[in-house]
Symmetry: C2
Subunit: 394 residues, 2 copies
């Protein structure tokens, strides 16, 4: 015999690197009755979902859809479909997710040429250009638009232009940027891009929106060897998602999770994508104003900062893990730890999607300031809250 | 600008091959507040989830966990981790999912040796034994326990014993069998098994429980080449799921979907796994009794039938697609079409999980009988309902 009880999660405010707070409308959508993945009514919802994703990605790409698994599977969808065994791929690494891209190239049978960037900085386009020149046989340039591990934003438009000038396709990680800061898939000419549901879309984790240009899709359909993943092979997945009225079974779609993503995208369309970018920026400036008053510094230079993910340097003498544990225990507030080269050195404060709100900013500044004050760090909590409020009023 | 409305799914009764009806307790669990995938409270839920899955699989395997994607990804997890490039794998094919196993072997770089079975029948152990004898260098035997495309159940215990006698590991598809009909992972000595959340567990689609024996795990950790999928590489995934208090980030788990699976497994433990098997069998017998009165025949021989998935021969002169369309339109009732060799020849009527209920049986018999009567097929609906009710009372 086995006995267990229903799980009742504690209430939390999610201000880490994701998942972000899920909007109540999304939670309600998740609980709607499940219908069949081949039901005509579900097919109609799928078509809307693709249109809504095109709106969010700013693209007309026909191949725009959610992969039925988390962002890591979206990354793998791009690499496993576009990298033929033996292909040389230039991979930019300025954080954890660049490393993961390199792993993906290797697993797909490709050869990875690494361009090392600095953690907490944008990729340097000159370095990338040098690598493109030094590797005229490279087929793909891969880079992270918004590095979730550091909070740095790279200049995707410039990097894509360089890649195209050297006859490379581009794979771009937009897990954290989608809906949080400007991302222009068509205007910048991005060939393949993936994101996640659980960041600036205010949805639950588990789905990965992707978009492929015609040129990228041509490479997928013209492969010499079958894609190394059956589950992620777009030649097969598109039989289900193509939407010409002859939807064929590939895998069983995560029906309720897709209800949730649809709802989050309806909300995004109602707000407007540019308004969503502006809200993320406005709230970032308010958080920053407050953090300054607490004597805390952001590690990424101002013009390379992501508004939705703020990497804050841990002050000397402060036990970073203990502070996070107290935030969680006393205030039900989650912020993120550092990863990789920044482990132990930063906190990552997310202002993503539904988490990007004035009340969250005040809670975070108040709680963090109070804990730091108690532990001897000079932090003027009142001044921090006032600065944030003043910034929000601007 | 882009405008869309919240999606309101039509109410449906799901009696196809899955997803099955989702229990209201599972729907409620899905809508609970999202917390972080590294939150200590979530870690506690994950440990319970593993125990509950061990209970459902009847195993003590330490590596028992849900893959963060649908059943097809659970299948791929087994193959991509266990098949080293060049490995010879004997694959039994008696339906759609055997074909898919063969594809998985090829994508993983293995060599597939196919044993052809009959669609709608169990695999013949003699044929399997012949293949094992003819291929002494084979490393793995793969077969489908419960063929969702035909409703046939193979004798997993015997096939696993044969495989072990010939020094092969076993990969077993239990997508449709888990919780619906006897499955004994430890007693039968299965090495790797995968299932799905959306069938006899009454949960939403999107997750794939898997379990690996120690011996199977040894092969994964001793691989000569890295696993071809980064997302599904168990050497990495276990860093998140191992549960020794040092959970490390791999991918962002689908938090709310896991709430749902946990809830469905709590309900299964409350009912009791053997009671769940018995319920599926009792309801199958009632459906069968009613179908007989409608003049409809099951295509799988009695002792090879799955109680949870009933493949019914479409009577001559009846337009099978038109009948399904009317069931959906007039009664909001979904049943499944035939797949592969059985396309156009059968309906697949599922009695899985929360769908396996007396009211669903009467609805299905009544609706199907009425439509068939109208279209000229001789079907005594009253007798069918009476026979089902009598069977349920037995």
């Amino acid at each position: 015999m086995m006995h267990a009880h229903s799980f009742q999660p504690p209430p939390r405010t999610l201000m880490g690197p994701g998942p972000a707070d899920v909007h109540p409308r999304v939670s309600a959508a998740l609980a709607r009755p499940t219908i069949g993945h081949l039901d005509p009514a579900f097919g109609g919802m799928m078509e809307e979902l693709k249109d809504l994703l095109r709106y969010a990605f700013r693209t007309q790409n026909a191949l725009t859809m959610p992969v039925s698994a988390p962002g890591s599977a979206g990354m793998e969808t791009c690499f496993v479909n576009l990298v033929d065994p033996g292909d040389k791929v230039i991979v930019c690494i300025n954080g954890v997710f660049g490393h993961r891209m390199r792993e993906n190239v290797i697993r797909a049978g490709g050869e990875a040429v690494v361009v090392e960037g600095d953690w907490g900085r944008a990729m340097d386009p000159h370095k990338v250009e040098d690598a493109l020149k030094a590797n005229p046989d490279a087929r793909i340039l891969a880079f992270v638009h918004a590095e979730t591990s550091t909070g740095a934003s790279s200049d995707a438009e410039t990097l894509v232009e360089l890649a195209h000038r050297h006859d490379c396709l581009t794979i771009v990680d937009a897990v954290t940027s989608l809906a949080g800061s400007p991302l222009e898939v068509d205007a910048w000419g991005i060939d393949a891009v993936y994101s996640g549901s659980q960041k600036c879309l205010s949805c639950t984790p588990g789905l990965s929106p992707v978009s492929f240009s015609e040129r990228a899709l041509e490479k997928v359909t013209a492969r010499s060897e079958p894609v190394r993943s059956w589950f992620l092979d777009l030649n097969l997945v598109l039989g289900y998602w193509k939407g010409d009225g002859k939807r064929s079974y590939h895998h069983t779609a995560p029906v309720n999770a897709l209800y949730g993503l649809h709802e989050s995208l309806v909300m995004l369309a109602d707000e407007g994508i540019e308004q969503s970018w502006a809200r993320h920026r406005r709230n970032h400036l308010a958080l920053r104003a407050g953090l300054e008053q607490l004597g805390l510094e952001l590690v990424v230079p101002e013009d390379e900062r992501l508004p939705q993910l703020n990497a804050v340097a841990v002050p000397g003498g402060v036990d970073e893990a203990a502070v996070r544990a107290r935030l969680l225990q006393d205030y039900n507030l989650e912020i993120g730890a550092g990863l990789g080269a920044l482990a132990g050195k930063v906190w990552r404060i997310g202002l993503m999607g539904y988490s990007s709100r004035a009340d969250n900013i005040l809670l975070c500044l108040g709680a963090l300031g109070s804990i730091l004050s108690e532990s001897g760090h000079r932090a003027d909590v009142g001044a921090a809250l006032a600065a944030a409020q003043a910034s929000l009023r601007d």
